[in-house]
Symmetry: C2
């Protein structure tokens, strides 16, 4: 009989242990994301993949916003985050500390996510607003652009889903290389 | 200047063209998913990756449920779907037509998704309820089990996010092999 793993068997960290544990050097930047439900879902994904930090830019709702907490399911306690007003200052600061700045956006010179080998350097991944995407002011400061190849009728994927795919893509490569610090 | 692709440049299909176009041979089975918002989000992902069909099992809300339509954003029109009561009959029928039946679930003998090479055969991917996961009756009939390796404090990922990662994982391999029919 096929038996599900219990919470004990899954061996998840408690919040204190998690906060002091090594993380993957990935910062997720939420550039004017509108929906708290999407933000909370991205917190939950950030927890699951032990990424370094979430940065909420501008009007992006952040904890303890009610909708954020609803879908974060406790991960707003475990994931490190900060709120900033100016995305260009944040990008400059991250770049000066060696981060490669990548936007998840369908632009003229974007590269298919699935063909992209994540470099073994710290990465800042920018995802954007549900309707307008990553802001032009952020795009102007990026090192590269990633696009999820799509075959359907709709313009785009939900941002919590597409952000999740990009995080999965990066961490599956880094975990094979044990890039946690 | 970095310029976003317009809807025209993205060259998406209209609904009629999409419905008659080749699809990837992937059937997504929603095993007692509770939230219409999650179902709608999975419809949107199913559209983006041109998968064959969604099967809503049991009480899983399906179109035209209000919450489903809210997050499906029109993809309930483009994606083929059906509703069934009995998941074992559905699995039997799919298996007899050559589908490999895979559950996305954390079980004792599951394999890490990122290490799994999707075979070049039709696949039925089962995702489960937000709290209880894939049902035991479905697990009993699966050919294999996939688990997304997690490093955080929470039990699991949101089902629309984890289902999206699994679909991304499969289609990125199939698209490299041009497996659409």
């Amino acid at each position: 009989m096929t038996v599900k793993k219990s919470m004990q068997e899954l061996d998840r960290a408690d919040v204190d242990t998690f906060r002091s544990a090594d993380k993957f050097p990935l910062v997720l930047i939420l550039d004017q994301v509108r929906s708290g439900l999407n933000v909370g879902s991205l917190f939950r994904t950030a927890d699951a993949f032990a990424i370094e930090k979430i940065v909420c830019v501008g009007y992006t709702p952040c904890p303890p916003h009610r909708e954020v907490l609803k879908t974060a399911l406790g991960s707003a306690q475990s994931v490190e985050w900060r709120q900033v007003e100016n995305i260009q200052e944040e990008i400059s600061s991250l770049r000066s500390r060696g981060y490669q700045i990548m936007a998840l956006e369908q632009v003229h010179n974007s590269m298919p996510l699935q063909e992209w080998s994540a470099p073994r350097v710290p990465i800042a991944l920018i995802v954007g607003n549900e309707v307008s995407g990553v802001s032009d002011e952020a795009l102007a400061w990026c090192d590269g652009f990633l696009e999820i190849t799509q075959y359907g009728t709709k313009h785009s994927l939900n941002v919590a889903v597409s952000g999740g795919m990009a995080i999965y893509h990066i961490i599956q490569q880094w975990s094979a290389a044990s890039l946690k610090s």
